[in-house]
Symmetry: C2
Subunit: 408 residues, 2 copies
């Protein structure tokens, strides 16, 4: 194997050939001169200029001038409208199955409760020990309240959960299997279609957490047969800090779908003030409280920009950026004691690369202090987030160069 | 009884004597020339100029320039920080008991589950048949999932739920009593302290919905002995459409308080990625997902303005506005077939006045089309919302005059 070219000229060539490079101008510029590179867009994507502008319009015109009338005129429809567009652009979901609402935690709670109710005779919920804390915590909480057991998958940290791992622990007791599509540490992509098929063969339901895939890799919820999915919008969809999450329920389950947080927005006639709760038809019954309009503006703009860029171009650039990080890491950081903790196979690696180092927690603080904004993830991971709509190849090289100096 | 003076001159005098009149300039002006009067601030309060400005700063500086670092620097603390300030300014709650998060529906679900868990041997949850739909729906949903029964209070629609009504249905089976502090139709104020005392005498827990009181009338959660409370911020607190709700848990219950939506933000060590969920100490364990930062900006600004105005001045003006509506209604609308469906006793009437009319649904549409923005509430209520920080006496008179013309 010959050493990869990690020269500044190669970075220049890669940036010059990048057909998404122009999208960077659509974002609010980083005015802090101390920022060398922003490689944490998979924790918090950068703001779009359009979001800042739309917020002014929404506050001034929709809220300030149309006042309460905007609920009927615009806002009440947003959870489904934005959900449909997100489903089309990023999730492979036909209309009427996705809503934007609540936080990922609340959405996952609803979905877990709904899934368990759809498989009343089955007493196990399956997840993996490396899944994101919220997912594990909620699986344990819902299992405890419903008198079910949690069945744990122990997967290889880099290889992730494979269909055979799922096959090994599922069976007639399996109610639902809850997995992350892209692992928050290694970025390994789980085979949604193959795993969902195994889960269905055992009679269970497949619940997918798309937090680290939505807006970064094409997701095929309908084609893959997924039953439920949730995810956040503040990472690769650039919707803003704490922007509302999304929730997908396959139309197969709409009639039987129920969830316990029965607020007025999920009722068949929100303003009917009925004596008892009657769920709205379709995905709307997954709603609970009043939709968070300001937060949804960011989702709407993020999804619109992704529609313009196209998820396949985004994915292609994420792969190229990932390769570039690996080339730079191999040349400069592996000799300093870093190891690559993400798949080297492009097809199995999502939108970030994790590098392990025994002193990662301290180093991460040093990098951040010096303007290289990466993320630290316990126990020893430096997570390099790649946001194809904003991240440039020279930016990545600048970051890795600084990391080499600081860690050397 | 002599007829009240409803002249334009009296409106002028009332506006001239109004020491909160200057606060109107702190709000985004209503640029729609078709709006005669905005009397629906108890559905959606108007936006503050400061909120529009702060949103630009938050997007540009905190999100755009400080990027992910803002979580540690500012945002993670917001749910408790804003909650404490809201507690101090409007709720009579000492610090450490109130957070801003989720929607009212989600907050109420958490609180109902927590309350039921604290009274495991008791199998009834009490509410009233006229309570807001979300409250009734959630009481029924939580009762059903936990195998409890709902015990209904049938109160007089204008007099509301009194302590004796609560005494009549509570006893050794009562786990919790869930009531609205201010009724969304009649605006009648429930006696929080007296009712809470009755609930406690029976060994139950008092859960208060403050949606129509927070920011409008002084609430005394600590002094009144309330156990739990929830409420929204988009009415009298002007926080914006779908802005996050608040949730109060008396410190008496913090140690035993648990809720089932165990997301990472409610865990003791959010970024510890622990193997199992350990709840954070204190009120923070009521959190679930990532805090909605943009929505919280509106709450922060709304609470700050209320702190400046003072809840007692707001309350005094709400009473005066209510009297003014009653004077105008008696003079102009009662002769046209309207009846007053709110308490005439100032001490028992919250921040709105409801007028009934057999043809209210059609009339409400006509009024709104003609720029008099009131609210219709089934079956036959026209709700006139009074927001002391924005509503003027001449504005109210203009609206009532138009209503008289249109309904005459």
């Amino acid at each position: 194997m010959t050493a990869a070219d990690v020269s500044a000229e190669r970075a220049e060539r890669l940036d010059a050939a990048d057909d998404l490079a122009g999208f960077r101008d659509r974002f609010v510029p980083i005015t802090d001169p101390g920022v060398v590179a922003y490689l944490d867009g998979n924790s918090l994507g950068r703001p779009l200029r359009a979001t800042a502008e739309r917020l002014q319009e929404v506050v001034g015109d929709e809220w300030g001038a149309r006042l309460i009338r905007s609920w009927e005129e615009r806002w009440l429809a947003l959870p489904e409208q934005i959900g449909d567009e997100l489903g089309r652009v990023a999730l492979g979901a036909a209309p009427g199955q996705t809503i934007v609402a609540d936080s990922t935690s609340v959405c996952l709670y609803k979905v877990l409760r709904a899934a368990a109710a759809l498989r009343p005779g089955r007493d196990e919920i399956v997840t993996d020990t490396a899944n994101f804390p919220t997912d594990r915590f909620l699986v344990e909480s819902v299992a405890a309240e419903l008198g079910r057991a949690v069945r744990w998958i122990e997967a290889d940290p880099v290889d992730g959960v494979r269909a055979e791992d799922v096959a090994a622990v599922t069976g007639p007791r399996t109610a639902a299997v809850v997995l992350s599509h892209v692992d928050y540490r290694s970025a390994v992509i789980a085979d949604l279609t193959a795993i969902t098929r195994v889960v269905h063969e055992r009679g269970g339901l497949a619940v997918w957490d798309l937090c680290h895939s939505a807006g970064s890799i094409p997701v095929e919820l309908d084609a893959g047969g997924a039953d439920f999915a949730v995810g956040c919008t503040y990472k690769f969809l650039n919707a803003g800090p704490g922007a509302p999450a999304f929730l997908y329920v396959s139309s197969r389950h709409h009639e039987a779908f129920g969830q316990p947080i029965t607020g007025w927005m999920g009722a068949a006639d929100t303003f009917g003030m009925a004596a008892h709760y009657v769920p709205a038809p379709g995905i709307r019954r997954a709603l609970s409280g009043t939709p968070p309009v300001l937060g949804m503006v960011g989702v709407q703009e993020g999804v619109a920009l992704l529609a313009e860029a196209g998820i396949s171009r985004v994915r292609a650039k994420a792969v190229a950026l990932g390769q570039w990080v690996l080339d730079l890491a191999d040349a400069w950081l592996v000799p300093l004691g870093f190891t690559v903790a993400s798949p080297r196979d492009d097809a199995r690696r999502g939108g970030h690369v994790t590098l392990r180092h025994p002193d990662a927690e301290r180093l991460a603080r040093v990098f951040i202090e010096h303007g290289v904004l990466i993320d630290f993830r316990r126990p020893d991971g430096i997570r390099v987030g790649l946001s194809p709509l904003t991240t440039g190849f020279a930016e990545v090289r600048r970051a890795m160069e600084r990391i080499r100096e600081l860690a050397g």
